[in-house]
Symmetry: C2
Subunit: 223 residues, 2 copies
């Protein structure tokens, strides 16, 4: 049965209401399950998709809530994390180490099309959550962002940095990309730093850390 037929049936049981639009949206966002990310599962078996990633982030926000500041609304962070990647259905996943291209423009178009499948009040609410996240304009959005950075780090560490190695990522790059975790939680940033250092130690990340004594990281310097 095609999507318009299902939406039509929903309209029939709620004449004058919004059920048809809500069902259309729910069918449409099923596609997030087919958007593939660059991180592998902890067991390394395959790449993660954005829908299951969003579930993992929502769980992480609930579980790590005690490490957020008192001004963070954890329930709102969960809502933000559930919706923050829906734009990828149209815009695709952009690798966090890829800072080229027209990501912002593509995502803006996607937000307009996808959120507006919903009735206006709910479309407005989701749009607000998404923009708050993108702008990191609140302590809650900054905590959500910290969670969205820490989770791939856990996956990468767990899977032995398979994805980092594949893309040739250096410790300094990973540190720069994940540095904003500190704006969401000092403790989670401390954990991230330890993980990155351990990954560099183990060779999952290319080790470009300056040696403490000014020698190169590989010990090939003058000593």
């Amino acid at each position: 049965m095609d999507q318009p037929r299902i939406v039509d049936l929903a309209g029939g049981v709620d004449p004058g209401g919004d059920l048809a639009r809500r069902i259309d949206f729910l069918l449409e966002i099923d596609q997030l399950k087919t958007v593939m990310r660059r991180s592998r599962l902890v067991d390394g078996s395959r790449y993660e998709n954005t829908a299951e990633h969003s579930w993992h982030l929502a769980m992480a926000a609930l579980v790590l809530g005690p490490y957020a500041g008192p001004e963070v609304d954890v329930v709102r962070a969960v809502e933000i994390l559930l919706v923050h990647d829906i734009v990828e259905i149209d815009a695709g996943d952009t690798y966090v180490y890829d800072d080229t291209g027209d990501k912002a423009e593509r995502e803006e178009r996607a937000a307009r099309r996808l959120f507006n499948l919903l009735p206006a009040d709910q479309a407005g609410h989701i749009d607000e959550l998404w923009r708050e996240y993108e702008a990191r304009s609140s302590p809650t959005a900054r905590f959500a962002y910290a969670i969205d950075r820490l989770q791939p780090l856990l996956l990468n560490a767990g899977s032995g940095g398979m994805s980092w190695q594949h893309h040739g990522i250096r410790h300094s790059q990973a540190t720069a990309v994940n540095g904003a975790i500190i704006d969401g939680s000092a403790t989670l940033w401390e954990l991230a730093s330890e993980l990155l250092a351990a990954c560099a130690d183990e060779g999952c990340l290319i080790d470009d850390r300056p040696a403490p004594d000014g020698a190169s990281a590989n010990g090939e310097g003058p000593g």
Copy 2:
């Protein structure tokens, strides 16, 4: 880097705290992404896994909240839906049309092991959410259950009933299994009924509906 090493690093940055247990739990539940369900994605391309299913349910609870009764706490329903299937990591997915076996016992064991990875207060909270859902002991749990039944129905309808056909499911079975949707939302049950009827019309479900005039559904009766 293996899971104990990551957990150990988390312990190191939060001595005397709970971060290690929380990180251990988050790494463990990554496995929910590898638990496969019996429903196919709307596009029919593959089976759905339980982690992405849980994300879709959380979104559906948010989006269909207006069709819940006034006594339903939609935020709590979202929380319930995020955690309600975590036991499947150990217990596996049990097909809703399979009422044999030791599902309850397996899930009870799984809940004890998995939830208790967390600190006691959070373990208790998740355990409470899960039991409320299993017992359907509140309007919120009954709404969450309705969402958990409606979503596979949308996927099955969208994918032309591929999974129903594969398992030889009859209209009467699907009606019985999904009947409890009415306890969560009268409108959503009306939609479910319409979808099931349309699926029987189209042959996605085996049509065993009694014909209105007492003839068999295939019109082969005497009337």
